[in-house]
């Protein structure tokens, strides 16, 4: 199990939270996803055997939220 933190551009609408959480949460291998609205971050727990951090990054970007930083631990 790995943890990734993605830094986004300033989030301003509360509906973004739902959009990102639902879409990323649907990804196979993603255990838990949390959008930190006030710190403009997405935290995700995922199984690195099933899904890669880059794939999550891509999904968030496609939703219309460019990923500025990515940190996996």
């Amino acid at each position: 199990m790995k943890k990734a933190v993605f830094g986004l551009e300033p989030l301003s609408c509360p509906t973004c939270i739902k959009k990102i959480e639902i879409t990323v949460g649907k990804l196979n291998g993603v255990e838990e996803v949390k959008v930190l609205f006030n710190s403009n971050k997405v935290r995700a727990q995922f199984d690195e055997n099933i899904v890669k951090a880059d794939q999550i990054n891509e999904v968030i970007t496609k939703l219309g939220y460019p990923v500025l930083s990515q940190k996996v631990s």
Partner: protein, 628 residues
């Protein structure tokens, strides 16, 4: 669509609107209409896309209401209105994002203090590496002006460090060998080498950031209510607007109704205040772990303090050694040798005193035994030592005669803890140990009272005399002494049952159950001990009581701010809806007022960032318990 593109579109729409105004005065009616339609479409498409994306996630968004209104306006040929509404919406969102960043700026400035690189000894050479590449056990070199990138203990050198990032305290702390330094702090002056024992996300600094981030997300009750409310409210408005249309047959009024009913200011009113409040606290070294805790903290009317380490410094000193037989220093030596095995702070104080006097401690205690909460027994040089309180003496059948007892009581009345030292079953002397009241305690308690705390109580495991002395010096409303951890829990329970909202402040593990029982648990962070930081609701990082009074008045201010925002937002919507139904407010003006109300709500929250309680001088002399 990213932020840059959005601002470009907003700017373009603004220019088109300006051109349309020009064309209007130039009398070019057809051109004007065309420009307005173009502006509506350019600005409207991104809004419509967002509305659609949210709808796919089964979320009714504000964008949806705006999109319906704009399509409606185009349909009935109100191009001025449609263009103005889309522009105002985008421009408003732009301003909101900007000002929202302000409410988050405290956390930002904390994060900006994060170290980026470190100088590490690798194969005998000093190399600069990124913080992510520093490993546990690395030897780090930190010079004047550099940032500490890890948590660890100093192995050589000394320095004064600015620890504001951790404690909010700007006065530099002097540190030398064996002292701990923390990531995020800055070497003001000096040169130190440190062995890293916590790196990356495990450092105290990283954990503080994570705690604050989580705290800002943790929703207050008001916030949760508003979220639920908005979920019902948005679809309800759509239905209501249909009702309005059926009754009035007025499309323009119906669309205006849709737009002004947007719950924008309402949804944002509570969270912006909370985020700003928590950010303000974090900057001053006060971690409030969430909006619901803010709300409870503001309602506190009873505060319970532990004594040692909370109201007092928790750094006891030997104030007197009284012997009934034999030499003082010799007694100190053998007692200290026996206390070497003790983890208890009173025992360690005696060991420290012996070291301070330069007495060599050579003998290893034999058959040593710790009697939890009472003292120790051990053999030194063939003598049986029994060191501890009255209970321990009684339990071992050691006679405490009147002269010894009256001396002990006299010392206790002066604020000392009296420790009996018996050699082979006879009391040989009494050690007096006293702690100091924190210099800021009195003014902090006064501020708490001034901000609305009704009663302040102390609960301690220490003896009655010392406790009463502290109680008198600080003017406490109640003093309960000689309590076990479970007694404290029971008393807090009783206070809660009597209808009080109770905050408990303590340090260390023995207070943990009481801290957990109280409505609000406060822990003294002391640079962040793990347990206190995780379990407490509020952590005072710099270990100063005035941070508590700040946190309390800040919580009140935050909740006040949140209420102002909520009432203002609800009031605006009600007035606007009334205005619409009376035919006084139209599409574009309704949108303008709505966006303004959102901005006012955010700006009101930004005031909290700068909130400081009135500075009170704490320069009065330090009251010392022991008087001799």
């Amino acid at each position: 669509m990213n932020a840059k593109r959005t601002s470009q579109i907003t700017a373009l729409t603004g220019i088109l609107l300006a051109i349309a105004v020009g064309l209007h005065f130039g009398g070019l009616h057809e051109w004007r209409q065309g420009t307005l339609i173009a502006a509506t479409i350019i600005a409207g498409i991104p809004i419509a896309i967002k509305a659609f994306q949210a709808l796919r996630m089964k979320a009714f968004s504000i964008e949806l209401l705006v999109t319906i209104a704009v399509i409606g306006a185009l349909f009935i040929g109100e191009y001025v209105e449609s263009a103005a509404v889309t522009f105002l919406f985008l421009f408003g969102a732009f301003l909101e994002a900007r000002t929202l960043e302000k409410t988050r700026s405290s956390l930002r400035s904390l994060i900006d203090m994060a170290p980026l690189e470190a100088t590490v000894m690798r194969n005998g050479e000093a190399v600069i590496v990124s913080v992510d590449d520093v490993e546990k056990g690395d030897r780090i070199i930190i010079r004047s002006g550099e940032k500490v990138a890890i948590d660890g203990a100093i192995v050589s050198g000394k320095a004064s460090l600015n620890e504001a990032a951790i404690t909010g305290e700007s006065v530099p702390a002097n540190k030398s060998i064996d002292d701990r330094v923390f990531s995020g702090t800055i070497v003001d002056n000096g040169f130190i080498e440190v062995i890293a024992d916590k790196v990356g996300d495990d450092t105290t600094f990283a954990r503080i950031i994570e705690l604050v981030e989580d705290a800002q997300e943790a929703k207050s009750k008001t916030q949760k209510f508003l979220d639920r409310f908005a979920n019902v409210y948005t679809p309800a408005i759509v239905i209501l607007s249909v009702v309005v249309y059926i009754f009035t047959r007025n499309i323009e009024m119906t669309l205006t109704f849709l737009v002004v009913a947007c719950p924008g200011a309402l949804v944002i009113s509570a969270p912006v205040s909370i985020v700003a409040g928590i950010g303000n606290g974090a900057r001053d070294g006060v971690l409030v772990k969430g909006g619901d805790i803010m709300e409870t903290l503001a309602k506190i009317d009873t505060v319970v303090f532990d004594k040692t380490g909370t109201l007092t410094r928790g750094r006891p000193e030997v104030t007197d050694i009284h012997t009934f037989s034999g030499d003082k220093n010799n007694l100190l030596r053998i007692v200290a040798e026996a206390e070497m095995i003790s983890e208890h702070h009173l025992g360690q104080t005696i060991v420290k005193e012996a070291r301070k006097r330069g007495i060599p401690l050579l003998n290893e205690p034999e058959e040593a035994e710790v009697i939890e909460g009472n003292g120790i027994r051990a053999q030194i040089e063939g003598k049986l030592l029994t060191i501890g309180n009255r209970k321990l003496m009684a339990a071992n059948g050691i006679n405490v005669d009147d002269a010894v007892e009256s001396y002990a009581v006299k010392r206790e009345k002066l604020g000392n803890t009296a420790i009996f030292a018996a050699i082979d079953g006879v009391v040989a002397g009494i050690f007096s140990i006293a702690d100091q009241i924190r210099p800021e305690a009195k003014s902090a308690l006064n501020e708490l009272r001034a901000s609305g705390v009704k009663q302040i109580i102390m609960m301690t495991g220490d003896n009655r005399h010392t406790a009463e002395l502290v109680g008198k010096q600080l003017g406490l409303d109640g003093v309960y002494a000689e309590l076990l951890p479970e007694d404290k829990v029971a008393m807090i329970q009783k206070l809660k049952e009597a209808g009080h909202k109770v905050a408990m402040a303590g340090d260390g593990i023995n207070d943990a159950p009481a801290i957990a029982t109280a409505d609000i648990g406060l822990a003294m962070g002391e640079g962040g001990t793990d347990i206190s930081m995780e379990t407490a609701d509020v952590v005072l990082m710099a270990d100063r009581l005035d941070q508590f009074s700040h946190a309390y008045s800040l919580a009140k201010a935050t909740i006040r701010n949140m209420k102002q925002n909520t009432y203002f937002a609800v009031g605006t919507v009600v007035l606007l809806l009334a205005g619409v139904l009376l035919g006084k407010v139209f599409l574009a003006s309704g949108m303008l007022i709505h966006e303004l109300s959102v901005l006012i709500v955010i700006l009101n929250a930004v005031r909290l960032i700068r909130y400081t309680k009135k500075q009170v001088n704490i320069k009065q002399p330090v009251p010392i318990l022991q008087t001799e």
